[in-house]
């Protein structure tokens, strides 16, 4: 019996020894554990008002409301070596067919240099908000107007006149023009934070500066998996963080945005490539103690084809937002965001009018981390629009977010 115990003790010690040593040197053979990282996130939002009743203020190009949605995502990172990694996010909204929102290879040519090349469906280059990928990174439930609100402008259909254009004011959730795709469909947001573009991105960092440059298939308002007009978008971003308290960012983007299906109907000699989306953005983040303040401004121009005079009509938009978060107590915070999305005037037969209806939004609320990986949010949102059938909408919303 004692011999058996000694044998068991010896076996236990023998088994324990390599386990203890594993910390000093990673276990051999467990490639998955060493090279694969997985994370999942689930969020469910519910608002007091349906999207149709609230005037589609929170509608996205996925044709659901961002304050009434169910989102499940699985994020994976496979590190093949110090130089090469594969990153992906597979996501489903409302239990619809899962889609790879992100799928790219990260290459670091020189290990000692913070220079990365991303190829595939890559992270957004333009703006600050789209880089807040995880739901918990957004202190509120709604998204900033500049990165979600659907304007009436479309990539595959254009109006025959300025009058037709303004007739679609506040109809971005289901826009309809006489030239091009005759089917009603969602218009373009200035920058789409819910969809990633495909292409190549270079990222270089040397404190306190980080620089991004990208060539992609789509545009910031219409990120695409494949090219639809033969012209790439160029975008760049610079972030300077001179002190931990502050980070300043500036972004630019320029690329043709119209779909190939419109090519034969375009006026003028320029073709698809002469109708571009151009945007400039600036953002700032200030943080200290329990405060976090973010501000972002995006100026955007679409060169829309015009058939009633000049061959190009400039549709300008300016989105601006200020967001604050204050941590009241461990796990409990209050937050608020105020923002406005304005549009330039176009000449109509009735005089100059904004080409889409300007929108203002105030969202206030808070979050409570019940546990480290379980966050509850509640917000109240006030929307006002200077046009359209529904001009005002006040709603409440709650959201639960969990991740692993």
């Amino acid at each position: 019996m004692s011999r058996l115990l000694r044998l068991a003790a010896w076996a236990a010690m023998a088994a324990a020894a390599p386990c203890a040593a594993q910390e000093a040197s990673p276990p051999r053979g467990n490639w998955f554990q060493e090279h694969v990282r997985l994370a999942g996130e689930a969020s469910a939002s519910m608002s007091t008002t349906e999207a149709s009743a609230e005037g589609w203020f929170n509608y996205s190009d996925y044709e659901n409301s961002t304050v009434r949605s169910l989102r499940l995502s699985l994020v994976g990172e496979v590190t093949f070596s110090e130089r090469v990694a594969l990153i992906t996010e597979v996501r489903t909204l409302q239990f619809e067919r899962p889609e790879a929102y992100a799928l790219y290879v990260r290459i670091r040519p020189w290990v000692s240099q913070a220079l990365d090349i991303h190829v595939g469906r890559i992270p957004p280059t333009f703006g600050s908000f789209p880089r807040r990928l995880y739901v918990a990174d957004n202190p509120l439930i709604g998204m900033p107007l500049a990165f979600q609100y659907l304007t009436s402008n479309r990539a595959d259909a254009v109006p025959a006149s300025a009058d037709e254009l303004v007739s679609m004011r506040a109809r971005g959730w289901r826009s309809d023009f006489s030239i091009g795709n005759p089917t009603e469909g969602p218009g373009l947001p200035i920058a789409n934070a819910l969809r990633w573009d495909s292409g190549l991105q270079v990222r270089w960092q040397r404190d306190p500066v980080t620089v991004y440059g990208a060539v992609t298939q789509g545009t910031i308002g219409d990120p695409r998996l494949s090219d639809d007009n033969g012209g790439p978008q160029l975008s760049a971003r610079v972030v300077v963080a001179p002190h931990p308290i502050i980070a300043l960012g500036a972004s630019v983007a320029d690329g043709p945005y119209l779909a190939r299906g419109l090519a034969a109907q375009l006026p003028g000699p320029g073709g698809l490539r002469s109708h571009r989306q151009q945007a400039v953005g600036g953002d700032v983040e200030l943080s200290r103690d329990r405060w976090l303040v973010r501000g972002e401004v995006v100026w955007n121009r679409w060169n829309q084809p015009a058939f009633d005079g000049a061959s190009v009509r400039d549709l300008d938009a300016l989105g601006s937002m200020l967001e604050m978060k204050y941590r009241l107590w461990p796990g409990l915070y209050a937050a608020g965001r105020v923002e406005r999305l304005g549009f330039s005037d176009v000449a109509t037969t009735l005089g100059p009018r904004a080409w889409d209806a300007p929108v203002t939004r105030l969202e206030v609320g808070g979050g409570w981390a019940v546990r480290r990986q379980l966050l509850l949010k509640a917000v109240w949102q006030r929307n006002r629009r200077e046009g359209g059938r529904v001009r005002a909408s006040d709603l409440g919303a709650v959201q639960v977010v969990t991740w692993f």
Binding site: Q22, A24, P26, R37, E77, L133, R203, D289, R290, G331
Partner: protein, 223 residues
């Protein structure tokens, strides 16, 4: 003369206090040594989410994982002296150092920021909830831990940063060496339940008998 008497009294009081604090709990003098090896479980996977957008600029140093071994029910003195110790949990290279800190109730832990970036140390653990807010390099904030239990520490800015603070109401605990070996402070003679904690869980426990003047070797294999 008065001064000499005062000095003598002060010396006596100090000596007594030191003796009381140094003495093992329970039956003073009748203690034994308790040491052994806690077979640390294999490291689990990464406890943070993938870097989906921003890659890590520099690989963080691989922290050595350690365990904590302690007596589940420990003898206590009738008038246990409260500790007024200070410990330190640093923030370096987006990592809490050390990853595991074991302290006694009453200990104050300093959380200095030794990084060039902001950190926001917080905990939602019922044992001690706190939120130190954001502060930059060179600054430090402190938290006092008055209740026994496990405190999970995080950074609100960097989700990959985490650490543990184990707060004990007695002194019979030890953080293991990286190879799992440990030795507790002198333990009063008796029979105890020894527990091995690792990364948030009690992974092993066993009964041990401590005899006066003897060394008890108690290894903790994982069940």
């Amino acid at each position: 003369m008065v001064l000499t008497r005062r000095v003598a009294i002060a010396a006596l009081v100090t000596t007594t206090l030191v003796a009381v604090m140094q003495a093992p709990a329970g039956t003073q003098g009748a203690t034994g040594t308790l040491r052994g090896r806690f077979a640390l479980p294999a490291a689990t996977g990464h406890d943070h989410r993938p870097a989906l957008i921003e890659p890590r600029v520099a690989p963080r140093p691989r922290q050595t994982r350690v365990g904590v071994v302690y007596l589940e029910v420990a003898p206590s003195e009738a008038f246990e002296q409260p500790v007024a110790a200070r410990q330190r949990m640093d923030q370096r290279n987006e990592t809490f150092v050390p990853h595991v800190l074991a302290i006694r109730t009453g200990t104050t832990v300093d959380f200095p920021n030794s990084d060039r970036i902001y950190h926001n140390v917080f905990s939602l653990s019922p044992t001690r909830k706190f939120d130190l807010g954001r502060y930059a390099v060179g600054r430090s904030k402190a938290v006092r831990f008055d209740r026994p239990g496990v405190v999970r520490v995080f950074c609100d800015i960097h989700s990959h940063m985490s650490a543990f603070i184990l707060v004990f109401s007695h002194r019979y605990f030890a953080v293991t060496q990286p190879d799992g070996t440990f030795q507790l402070p002198p333990v009063p003679t008796g029979t105890y339940m020894l527990a091995g904690w690792y990364e948030g869980e009690v992974r092993a426990n066993r009964q041990v008998v401590v005899r006066s003047g003897e060394t008890t070797v108690a290894d903790l294999p994982v069940p």
